[in-house]
């Protein structure tokens, strides 16, 4: 099994969810995160004092899939999330040992 973790523009989350749904992936964990990378931050002004904000809001989507699906899913996510501008985000994949469904005790591919 492989965990796919992607850091996305908040504005592309719905497209990614739709694309994954069409692919048959319905389970995911989504969190609001802050991060920085190639994308430059922005400047905020409070009472005439400028602050450079270099951590920008992103969403992190985590899903766990069968190994044979990984390449296809990465392609689907990339297409849905891409705008072509700096700041589109990144995708990371990790091998994972096991998955257990707490309710039934099923393990491995059956549990995801």
């Amino acid at each position: 099994m492989t965990k796919i973790e992607c850091i996305l523009r908040p504005g592309r989350l719905e497209e990614v969810k739709d694309a994954l749904g069409k692919f048959g992936i319905h389970g995911m964990t989504v969190s609001q995160v802050l991060g920085c990378g190639l994308q430059k931050g922005r400047t905020e002004v409070y009472r005439g004092r400028e602050y450079s904000i270099n951590l920008l809001p992103k969403v992190k989507v985590e899903i766990v899939v069968r190994d044979d699906q990984v390449n296809e899913i990465v392609r689907v996510i990339s297409e849905a999330a891409r705008t072509g501008e700096i700041g589109d985000g990144k995708i990371f994949t990790y091998r994972i040992d096991n998955a257990i469904r707490i309710r039934t005790g099923e393990q491995g591919d059956d549990a995801i």
């Binding site: 905020e44 002004v45 409070y46 009472r47 005439g48 004092r49 400028e50 602050y51 904000i53």
Partner: protein, 456 residues
Amino acid sequence: MIWRSERLKRLLYLVPLMVLAMPAWALADEAKIDAGDTTFVLLSAALVWIMTPGLALFYGGMVRRKNVLSTIMHSFIIICLVSVQWVLIGYTLAFGPDHGHLIGDLSWLGLKDVGQTPNADYAATIPHLVFMVFQLMFAIITAALITGSFAERMRFPAFLAFSLLWTTIVYDPLAHWVWGVDGWLRNLGALDFAGGTVVHISSGVSGLVAALVLGRRRGYGSEPLLPHNLPMTVLGAALLWFGWFGFNAGSALAANGLAASAFVVTNTAAAAAALAWVIVEWMHHGKPTVLGAATGCIAGLVAITPAAGFVTPLPAVLIGLVAGAVCYLAVAVLKAKLGYDDALDVFGVHGVGGTWGALATGLFATKAVNPAGADGLFYGNAGQLWVQLVGVAAAWVLAAVGTYVILKVVSLFWKLRATADEEEQGLDISQHGEDGYADMVLGAPAGNGTVGLSGV
């Protein structure tokens, strides 16, 4: 608050008659209560009251989320603290029979002799109790205004001691000087319709001194100390603006034309100042900010406060425009240059705006608005500007020296400043044991049946 010299003169003519007809006069005095005036001033007192919870939101939104409760608590507890202090001793010190032109004596301790009949020295048509409680609201908000300067870093016990001592040793005498019968600034003819000197200069200058004594917040200059909830701040500013109609129009102490005039110039100056702040900020930094609009209207309200009962609407526009621009420069340029951490800009808005307002009163005041007032420089009386300057200087000195001494004395008994750990954790948890936004609750009720952090 306004000089009732006309009324006093008329009363003087009445002295021989009064001696002849003492019993009849006593009856007439009670009958002089005016229902309209009493209603208006009571409701104005309630309006001024809401300014302090408004201030709590205004300040609360501007601090980081870990300090929102402690900042709100400052204002809230001051409502309670000063309400009791005022009844016990504050009112008599500020407005009681004069002692040496400096302070009221203790004749009205615990509101003794302050009752339902009017006190003609202050307001002849409303019960003395109404005047007293209206004045209480001013004492409350003044002490609360200072708290913005030391937000996010002062320990609660020291804050309590400081606030109680400050309202007693700085506010009460200053109110007596400016508004008390026979107070020396009042005798000098200094004009302060609703508290530009007593409320705003005193709190602004005290805030500056407190910020200097306490030192900067951890991370000042190196990490962003940003407002955590600007909608809360804007709601607070709106409540302040709303309450200010009671503050200024109510200071006419009667439901009359002067109150209407004060109401109009108050709204006008607030609006002009908000526009000026936003425009100057827009030119300086390229963005018209909401925080700028909210702060600008407060700067205008501060500046028009001393002038509200003495100026016409057109000078009010000018007073507001200058206040918005000058206070912006004080906050955005002066503060950054000098490097003091007046966290929520008490000095930049109230100290600077109040000083401008007091001087502007000496420029634009006219007897056409208020025969009991005086003419300013632009109406042919240059002397008034000098008198205003004396009032400003006196307030600066009393507030600065008083605040410094009080903080030094308090620091002998309580630690003023939160420790590095307490500050890092946030004052909500370290001082009050609460979290303003407990979106993830960890832990369990502690002890037998006692409710812990997890709530009810």
